[in-house]
């Protein structure tokens, strides 16, 4: 039973395919910019990936659809549907009938093929700039287990996204989260992990103990979380090799709000101290503990900068919850939030340029972003409860959870891009909260 989660995810490093020589027109590269302005989604076509033989027919169709869904789901691309296609792609290596794709205004064309043999699958694709009548980048091939066909599709979509936006992709990634059920007064909570699009959800804990704030490592192999399994809230860790274990050597006291350092070797967390709470950093396994804050205020929700040198956190030392930044080795903290309201749950973009946060103002909760010096504050969402942002691997999209009010209400996970556009719900089976997004998987 315990191996239910283990999937052989050996994905080969992509291989470049031999290309037919085409005359490349000297023209601006096909590109959609992710900017503040109004976006007109780029129309693209993805005719069904060609199966190499009957065994691949079903997988080829499913992979094609996931590639399409990934791109359309960004809000940056619009699919020209199959019903509008003039040309049919029946062979991966056949010449492209550019005029037919141009006629239906597909600016980008994705062609592909899928082969299956036994439990191994292989996908190859090419991306075409239709109006330039030229390939956009190299054709690539990905190999993996058939069971991980979704990851193969995400790898293709990440390549297409990167070439068309100039940004790295984010589709081949995993999200840890809390699955909640039962009455609001006594929720049963489990740590789950799923693909970024909600597929392949698996529960990592059984619900017998209250669990909170899962935080996934960048490589998705470990999850830090807070658990009441020992009676009081304690920071614990789940990893591929075995059972949950405590990570903080000092067994006394209540610890919570853990996060990995970027290299995964350390953990920063909050510990109740008297009537306040302080931040501590220690090695996974407990050694090398450093106390970052002292005093009687509440210091919590810490997060590392992507270079691991600084920590952003929330503190009420000034009277209300505000955001502060300090060195991960200790020292003075500088306040970076200055607007009206309370600021909480800060997380540093993997690009290092921005910090996302929860803001409570005027009785509403908002997800917002600001530059790391606190300037440029922008609110992206607002509702009764919008909370707990987590960054996509490319720092251009956020997930968070939104909770509807009242006894029958509950949390759901949403995503939004950093311009505030493309708010979408991430489909989960029931109530879900506290998303934590991994890095791009390799």
């Amino acid at each position: 039973m315990v191996d239910r989660l283990r999937r052989s995810l050996a994905i080969g490093v992509p291989a470049a395919l031999a290309l037919r020589p085409f005359a490349t027109a000297a023209q601006a590269p096909l590109r959609i910019e992710i900017t503040e302005g109004v976006i007109e989604p780029m129309p693209f076509a993805a005719p069904g990936f060609v199966p190499d033989g009957g065994a691949a027919t079903d997988v080829a169709a499913r992979i094609t659809q996931v590639v399409i869904d990934d791109l359309v789901g960004t809000g940056l691309f619009r699919e020209v549907p199959r019903s509008a296609h003039i040309a049919r792609v029946s062979s991966f290596d056949a010449p492209v009938a550019f005029a037919d794709w141009k006629a239906i205004n597909a600016q980008a064309l994705i062609t592909g093929a899928v082969g299956v043999s036994g439990d191994r699958a292989q996908v190859r694709f090419r991306l075409w700039d239709v109006f330039a009548q030229a390939p956009l980048g190299e054709g690539l091939q990905f190999d993996g287990s058939t069971a991980s066909w979704r990851r193969l599709a995400h790898k293709v979509a990440d390549q297409v996204y990167a070439r068309l936006t100039g940004e790295t992709g984010y589709f081949d990634s995993r999200v840890a989260f809390v699955a909640a059920s039962g009455p609001k007064q006594a929720r049963r909570k489990q740590i789950g992990i799923m693909d970024y699009d909600g597929a392949n959800p698996v529960m990592l804990t059984d619900g017998s103990a209250l669990v909170l704030t899962p935080r996934i490592a960048a490589d998705a192999r470990r999850v830090l979380f807070t658990s009441y399994a020992s009676g009081a809230p304690k920071v614990m860790m789940l990893e591929g090799g075995g059972r949950a274990r405590t990570v903080i050597s000092d067994a006394s006291g209540m610890t919570f709000a853990p996060r990995f350092s970027p290299n995964g070797a350390r953990v920063v967390y909050s510990r109740s101290v008297g009537t306040g709470a302080d931040l501590f950093v220690s090695d996974i396994g407990g050694g090398g503990q450093v106390q970052l804050t002292r005093g009687s205020s509440i210091n919590t929700a810490p997060a590392f900068s992507p270079d691991g040198n600084r920590v952003v956190f929330e503190s009420d030392r000034g009277g209300t919850q505000q955001l502060y930044v300090m060195s991960a080795a200790g020292g003075e903290a500088s306040r970076i939030s200055f607007g009206d309201g309370r600021y909480a749950t800060p997380v540093w973009s993997p690009r290092g340029d921005m910090i996302a946060f929860t803001k409570i103002a005027g009785g509403r909760f908002h997800i917002g972003v600001m530059r790391q010096d606190g300037s440029g504050e922008k609110l992206l969402t607002g509702s009764y409860i919008d909370e707990g942002p987590t960054w996509a691997p490319n720092g251009r999209v956020l997930m968070f959870f939104r909770e509807s009010p009242g006894a029958g209400g509950g949390p759901q996970i949403y995503s939004v891009d950093i311009t505030g556009r493309n708010l979408r719900r991430v489909p989960t089976g029931g109530f879900a909260s506290d998303p934590s997004w991994s890095g791009l998987l390799s």
């Binding site: 059984d206 591929g240 209300t320």
Partner: protein
């Protein structure tokens, strides 16, 4: 045509079942082994598999009419004069019934973020313990725990419910009538 030979593996997390192990902590106090074990119906909280009483009025210490809880202002853990009155009555009973260990649960309402509410719950429980100790209850008799906003007694999205959730509850564990 280039073909790489490196194969990259990606690990996956293995399903584990957390074992809820009861353990003693420091003094003779037994920490509840599950999030609901400490409640025993006090305050009418629903159990994992059942529905409790409405419990809007809150509970009492065993066999008494002394309230088992105090309430707090938004984002605060300071004790009001009314709270101190209730706690002093609790201290009186605890002094006369010295055998039972005491657990103070701190809670918060849902109009704040999760981590802050965890700390706030702990802060409230700590404030109650500090007062009890100042009134003569031995420090080792009292343990504290926070539940943040995880265990509300009232779920309506109004201040009348939020106020009830901003509480510290005194749970007498292992004593008569508990």
């Amino acid at each position: 045509m280039m073909r790489a030979t490196v194969t990259l593996k990606t690990g996956a997390l293995i399903l584990v079942a957390l074992v809820a192990a009861g353990c003693s902590r420091g003094s003779d106090v037994t920490i509840p082994t599950s999030p609901d074990a400490g409640y025993s119906g006090a305050g009418g909280l629903a159990g994992l598999d059942g529905v409790g009483t409405a419990g809007l009025g809150g509970g009492t210490l065993p066999g008494t009419s002394i309230s088992d809880r105090v309430l707090f202002a938004v984002d605060q853990s300071t004790l009001s004069a009314e709270a101190i009155g209730v706690l002093n009555a609790q201290v009186g009973w605890l002094t006369q019934n010295p055998g039972s260990p005491v657990l103070i649960e701190g809670h918060a309402d849902e109009r704040g973020t999760g981590e802050y509410n965890m700390a706030l719950g702990s802060s409230r429980a700590s404030a109650v313990r500090n007062h009890m100790v100042s009134q003569g209850i031995p420090d080792g008799r009292i343990s504290i725990i926070t539940y943040g906003r995880e265990r509300p007694v009232a779920t309506c999205p109004e201040e009348s419910c939020f106020a009830q959730n901003r509480r510290a509850v005194t749970v007498v564990t292992g004593g008569p009538g508990a």
